[in-house]
């Protein structure tokens, strides 16, 4: 497995009132392709900030990120949008499906913003992704007509529809009942076989235990990086 991301000396500081908050305070990490990683930590530990920066939603204040061999720590907004639509996928705690769109349209959404967007091809890819998560029987439903577990499966389909290198899952089981937690975590785990790196951000030890590598964060620093 080749190296996917190399992070060195990553800093992120926010001004908050008169003070400056150091959300990330010198983080060095390496991720390989096909790794299953859990980032664990209490709120305010910097785990969300790390996910946002690695997910091309935010820029670091200092430090370097080599993603697939390219320095990406100071990309412009449009270039970061390109990475979001082509290289990463997100799974959120509250699903974040668009209520007015059908299941199929929700899943096809990331492809809509690609340069080579084509309606027919997008639809085919979305159908394929929904098959992968076992939701191909609900293509024309609205998200509100689905159960929580089903919604999260649709969200996972949306995250993988663009064949990303990394899928970020931010507390993916936080809104699910016990029965569905396992199913979703199994589904996330099965993505590794396709060479996708899965990074689960959580404060739930049980969820983190599924990963092969657990990174604990505290006060903007990596406290522990343990492989199991």
């Amino acid at each position: 497995m080749g190296s996917l991301v190399t992070i060195r000396g990553l800093h992120k500081a926010y001004p908050m009132g008169d003070e400056t908050v150091h959300a990330l305070d010198g983080v060095d990490l390496d991720f390989d392709r096909g790794e299953y990683i859990a980032i664990l930590g209490p709120s305010g530990s910097g785990k969300s900030t790390l996910m946002h920066i690695l997910g091309f939603m935010d820029q670091p204040t200092a430090g370097s990120i080599i993603f697939e061999g390219e320095e990406v720590s100071s990309l412009g907004a449009d270039r970061r949008a390109w990475y979001r639509s082509n290289r990463v996928g997100f799974v959120f705690q509250s699903f974040n499906l668009l209520p007015r769109l059908t299941v199929l349209e929700n899943v096809a959404l990331p492809l809509l913003y690609r340069e080579d967007s084509d309606r027919k091809a997008n639809e085919a890819a979305a159908k394929h992704a929904l098959e992968r998560v076992g939701m191909s029987h609900r293509l024309e439903h609205r998200p509100t007509q689905l159960s929580g577990g089903e919604r999260q499966r649709v969200a996972i389909a949306r995250a993988i529809v663009g064949k990303p290198s990394i899928v970020f899952a931010d507390e993916p089981t936080g809104n699910l009942d016990v029965k569905n937690v396992d199913r979703i975590l199994d589904l996330l785990g099965s993505l590794l076989a396709e060479g996708i790196t899965v990074i689960v951000v959580t404060h739930d030890l049980g969820v983190a235990a599924r990963a092969r590598r657990i990174i604990s964060m505290r006060a903007g620093k990596v406290q522990e990086d343990r492989r199991q």
């Binding site: 946002h52 997910g55 939603m57 935010d58 907004a77 449009d78 949008a81 390109w82 979001r84 639509s85 082509n86 996928g89 997100f90 959120f92 974040n96 499906l97 668009l98 007015r100 959404l109 990331p110 809509l112 913003y113 690609r114 967007s117 949306r158 663009g162």
Partner: protein, 417 residues
């Protein structure tokens, strides 16, 4: 091509939002609807009025006609009233001889409204003494088979012949009687009907009825048999080219002043003055109605901006999701601009149909008040302009909300409850 690919889903999305928020969207459209409807309807109706008026001016002899009428002397010349000879046939000869710009000159003597009789049937109409030049000056003619007009010989011999206006002929004669060659009594005197003037079928009913009225006798017969003096009531002058109007008016005035020893006992009128005053009314109408329409469109724009801002506030999370999955700022800008455009285009289309209703209603009311008045018809150019305005307003109003959506930070937007 690329922009079209991006635009398609944006427009579809806009239509969906519209459908999802029908009442709100309709309310936000109301300004645009009102603006477009008033703009298109008012311009159309004013154009229609202008068309009616042009027809009226044409009926009056067009812009190439100059009318000289008798007038009492101005205050500073009042003490010379005894010297005033009024307008006479001498003036006609003088103008004909000295002003080449004037192509025809029609001396007219108004005998007044009098009773005419044919075998017990009566009609009251105006009696005008005139010469053969009346036809070209008034732009009238006699249709084939309808006899002849007054001739030079009639003028010379003061014959007792009469030409009837079309509506008088039908009033005075039973339908199965040919008026030509019949003898009628005009103010008690016997006249032979020699011709029928052409019938004017204007869409303006009252006006064409008035134009079809009247009877015409030789001007010399009128002065010798009825008025008893050589005073003319008016001169109708025609020029070849309307562009020469002002020169012709100046020359006629100078010539007449000379003939009348400097006494200003006449007035010179042209249809241009009437047309000009109507043009002023028209532009005043257009300005004030245009102002009303502009204000409505402006308010319509504010309405759209308002509803777009509200919509964006409700959909901050959606914006965050779209950005998280790869939408650029420009994608969201386009999406929300397209939504504003969809609202305004829909408003514009509804406004156009409302304007059709207004024009129909105005036509209905006007034709009730004035039967067979010329109808205003919708011009596709004006409609296209109305629609264009609404699109522009929508786009301008959409820019600021769309920019706000485009600039939202995805992380903040996703955290939004």
């Amino acid at each position: 091509m690329r922009i079209f690919v991006r635009l398609r889903p944006a427009v579809i999305n806009g239509l969906r939002e519209l459908q999802a928020n029908k009442v709100r969207s309709l309310l936000s459209m109301s300004g645009i609807i009102l603006g477009v409807a008033s703009l298109v309807a008012m311009v159309t109706v004013v154009e229609g009025m202008m068309g009616n008026f042009k027809q009226f001016v044409d009926g009056m002899g067009g812009l190439e006609k100059i009318t000289v009428e008798r007038q009492s002397l101005p205050k500073d010349q009042e003490h010379l009233a005894a010297l005033s000879e009024s307008i006479t046939l001498r003036d006609v000869d003088q103008i004909r001889a000295t002003i080449p710009l004037i192509s025809n000159i029609s001396p007219e003597v108004s005998v007044g409204w009098e009773k005419i009789v044919y075998e017990g049937r009566e009609a009251v109409t105006s009696i005008l003494g005139c010469t053969p030049d009346y036809l070209p000056v008034a732009r009238r003619w006699i249709d084939p088979g309808q006899g002849r007009f007054i001739s030079d010989l009639d003028i010379l011999y003061r014959t007792d012949v009469v030409v009837l206006g079309a509506s008088i002929a039908t009033d005075l004669f039973p339908p199965n009687v040919d008026p030509l060659g019949k003898v009628i009594r005009v103010k008690g005197k016997r006249f032979v009907v020699v011709g029928l003037l052409n019938k004017i079928n204007g869409s303006n009913g009252m006006f064409s009825r008035w134009r079809n009225n009247g009877v015409f006798i030789p001007v010399t017969t009128a002065t010798s048999k009825f008025t008893g003096n050589n005073h003319l009531t008016a001169l109708g002058l025609r020029i070849a080219d309307a562009n020469d109007l002002q020169y012709a008016v100046d020359q006629v005035e100078r010539s007449l002043l000379q003939m009348h020893h400097g006494l200003k006992d006449f007035s010179i009128n042209t249809n241009e003055e009437t047309l000009e005053s109507f043009r002023k009314t028209q532009s005043a109408f257009k300005l004030s109605l245009g102002g009303v329409a502009a204000i409505s469109l402006f308010i319509g724009g504010i309405g759209i901006m308002n509803v777009m801002l509200a919509s964006i506030n409700e959909r901050i999370r959606e914006i965050g999701v779209r950005k998280a999955v790869g939408a650029r700022g420009s994608d969201l800008f386009l999406q929300f601009l397209a939504e504003a455009a969809v609202i305004s285009v829909m408003g514009g289309v509804i406004g156009l149909s409302v304007s059709m209703g207004i024009v129909w209603l105005m036509n209905y009311i006007l034709t009730q008040a004035i039967p067979s008045m010329a109808l205003s018809t919708l011009d596709w150019k004006i409609m296209a302009q109305g629609l264009g305005f609404s699109v522009i307003v929508g786009l301008v109003a959409g820019v600021y909300p769309a920019l706000r959506a485009a600039k939202l930070d995805p992380i903040e937007a996703l955290r939004h409850e």
